[in-house]
């Protein structure tokens, strides 16, 4: 047995300790970037092997095709956010908002957060999966409350309380699932391991599984941001430092989604159709509520937070429909959303630091004041609302055609209506910031650490939208077939 999967946790934890020991905040930031790059390098062989259909399973660990997608997404989002953190936090230090010690602590928590999120995707036991999800909440609470302002404390308190309750209900679901397996698996110590449960799924008790999935989707759905359990999300996203907002939106929500998907795969075998119904229902509700709130948003980061709820809703609908085409779309949409949303958040972060406000009504003349940021924000907005040729468009259109070919016309129609509403709200709010004269008071943020991740993300989301590498598409199709084969 060689050291493989463990490295995905060991590297970020070591980097966390190292960044605390660094002499300055900037070197700690470099440690974070190096750590995220190392994580991607280490995960690549594991993920490629897993995507080829060969699962890695030993000890506590289990990595298969589905985990590989999430690990890679977390790796890339982590790297981009680590780069962006460098410039963002040194600006905060310059403005005396935080001290250099705070910056080092930030990077420690940042790396621990990456470790916690990666561990969600590589553990085998559903019980340990629960523990790792709870750890992501606890670690990220410090990042959300990083600025120690009163409003940030309020957001953290809500985040901790709501997610802890949610996750407690999720544990009820896991317990019920464990109980449902007791007459099939007996006292098998591996009875909570996902591969074992999946193997035995057909023999699980349907009543208990139904009840378990209801608790799981409410519990983990809280963390994923499904309406009506989403109330912590806009507060936490708007109050945390911008790179953390990007991580929460593009990586953390995915972790909760990952947990739900694992349960859905089991529930689909035990009680066909039950989980799908709930996924579509919650997804549609999230989409509708998010569209309404985006229309009336004033705070740019709150609007982006609602956009995350919207996309989580769309993804839930895709997995809920459950045909290979829709699942393929949903998987692709996970990647597309996670590559596009940080781009928009980073642009918004530049605007916030430049103008010193999050209120979109107070920002004018963005195009002349910060041409690069304005361009990125404009492109990011068009990408996130799902215009071609960006990747989010491909994800949405695939899910929609999945819905139509499955005969769910009402689902497809409603989804289109809400996406159009989101489009209207987003473009109205964002593009009104563009025209006008140069804002004299603005302190334009500059630096490669900001522009490089933004440029990279734009290229990725554009390339994924224009042409998909055959390897990626084959891998996603194989997951989609596997996932929906259960239905």
């Amino acid at each position: 047995m060689t050291l493989g999967v463990e490295l995905l946790i060991i590297i970020p934890v070591a980097a966390a300790l190292l960044s605390l020991a660094m002499p300055s905040g900037k070197t700690a930031a470099v440690v974070s970037v190096a750590c995220s790059a190392a994580v991607i390098l280490v995960s690549l062989p594991i993920c490629i092997k897993a995507l080829g259909g060969e699962a890695t399973e030993y000890g506590l660990w289990y990595v298969d095709r589905l985990s590989a997608v999430f690990i890679l997404v977390i790796g890339v989002v982590g790297l981009m956010s680590a780069m962006y953190s460098y410039g963002y936090l040194s600006r905060d230090v310059e403005e005396k908002e935080i001290s250099s010690k705070d910056e080092r602590q930030y990077h420690m928590m940042f790396n621990l957060f990456v470790a916690a999120m990666l561990s969600v995707c590589i553990v085998s036991s559903m019980g340990i999966l629960w523990i790792t999800i709870e750890i992501t909440t606890l670690v990220s609470a410090f990042l959300v409350g990083f600025y120690r302002r009163n409003s940030a404390l309020e957001a953290t308190w809500k985040y901790l309380m709501i997610c802890s309750v949610g996750i407690t209900l999720g544990l009820v679901g896991i317990t019920l699932m464990y109980a449902s397996s007791s007459h099939v698996l007996g006292d098998d110590p591996g009875a909570l391991n996902w591969p074992v449960l999946y193997e035995a799924a057909a023999g699980l008790d349907p009543t208990l599984i139904k009840m378990a999935f209801v608790f799981v989707i409410i519990g983990f759905g809280t963390k994923m941001g499904l309406v009506p359990m989403h109330t912590w999300l806009p507060d936490a996203h708007s109050q945390s430092p911008t790179p953390v907002s990007a991580m929460l939106s593009a990586a953390l929500l995915n972790c909760a989604l990952y947990a739900i998907l694992r349960f859905q795969m089991i529930a689909d075998v035990a009680v066909p159709g039950f989980a799908s119904m709930l996924m579509i229902g919650f997804g549609m509700l999230s989409l509708a509520a998010a569209a309404a709130f985006i229309l009336i948003s004033k705070d740019i980061k709150r609007m982006l937070a609602y956009s995350s709820i919207e996309h989580m809703g769309i993804i839930a609908i895709g997995f809920g429909i459950g045909t290979p085409l829709a699942v393929f779309g949903a998987l692709f949409h996970i990647i597309a959303h996670s590559m596009t949303k940080p781009l928009v958040f980073f642009s918004a972060g530049n605007v916030i630091q430049g103008y010193g406000t999050r209120d979109m009504d107070e920002v004018r003349g963005l195009r002349k004041t910060m041409p690069f940021t304005a361009f990125m924000l404009g492109a990011g907005t068009l990408a996130i609302v799902g215009l071609p040729p960006f990747s989010v468009f491909v994800g949405e259109i695939t899910i929609l055609s999945g819905a139509v070919s499955a005969g769910m016309y009402h689902v497809a129609a409603l989804t289109v209506v809400f996406i159009v509403l989101v489009f209207a709200g987003f473009t109205r709010n964002i593009f009104k910031m563009m025209p006008g004269d140069v804002a004299t008071g603005a302190k334009v943020p500059r630096g490669l650490s900001r522009s490089l991740p933004m440029a990279l993300l734009l290229v990725i989301t554009l390339l994924l939208g224009l042409f998909m590498p055959e390897g990626v598409s084959n891998a996603l199709w194989s997951i989609a077939d596997w996932f929906s084969g259960a239905v």
Partner: protein, 219 residues
């Protein structure tokens, strides 16, 4: 141990836990509330020992011992200290009066029985009758979190919910694999610690731990 005796002991513990939840709803002082939580955890630990003895599952002894150390001693002690530092010893503010809270708690117990009825039939453990009780403890804990206004009491509500959850785990499956249980336990401990840290920060920032001041973030 005799099956009848252990059955009676289990019932005793579970009923005591539920009554302590009800008692917690009526307390007006934080110290009392923490005592109620500590005693409830004591019954949970005792229950783990009884179930361990009658089913021969030795890992439940470990679980009971950790419960004693963490939930009966550690958390209440730490929270009392925090409460002293915050000068929060006196009244527990609730948005609802005591009689009203008790009535709603009673209603929640009925709901718990209705919800768990179909489940009872599918489980065949000696502790399955506890299922409704554990659901009641979870719901009452949730209700406490919703109605109380102090950071500290909200946290106790969460911890009581978790007590109910452990009761539930024991009643339908005699406990999960040991690694998982221990992991969950330390997680609960971490939650308590971190909530304590943020309660302190809130009290410094707002000069109160009344969370009704936390109502500013909205559209």
């Amino acid at each position: 141990m005799d099956v009848v005796i252990s059955g009676n002991l289990i019932d005793l513990c579970v009923v005591a836990m539920l009554l302590l939840s009800m008692l917690a709803m009526t307390t007006t002082r934080i110290a009392q509330l923490l005592n109620a939580f500590a005693v409830q955890s004591l019954f949970l630990a005792f229950l783990a020992f009884v179930v361990a003895d009658s089913t021969g599952r030795s890992e439940l002894y470990v679980l009971g011992a950790i419960t004693l150390a963490v939930k009966v001693a550690g958390i209440p002690w730490a929270m009392k200290n925090t409460a002293v530092r915050l000068h929060a010893g006196r009244e527990v503010d609730s948005t609802m009066g005591i009689p009203g809270s008790l009535l709603i708690s009673a209603a929640l117990i009925i709901v718990a029985y209705l919800v768990t009825e179909p489940l009872m039939a599918t489980v065949d453990t000696i502790t399955r009758n506890c299922l409704a009780m554990s659901m009641s403890v979870i719901l009452i804990g949730l209700f406490m979190m919703v109605t109380r206004r102090k950071a500290m009491t909200e946290a106790v509500g969460l911890l009581m919910m978790e007590n109910g959850l452990f009761l539930g785990i024991m009643s339908i499956s005699y406990g999960m694999p040991l690694v998982v249980e221990i992991g969950i336990f330390f997680d609960v401990l971490m939650v308590a610690v971190i909530i304590g840290i943020f309660a302190l920060r809130i009290s410094r920032a707002f000069d109160t731990i009344d969370t009704s001041v936390l109502r500013r973030l909205k559209e």
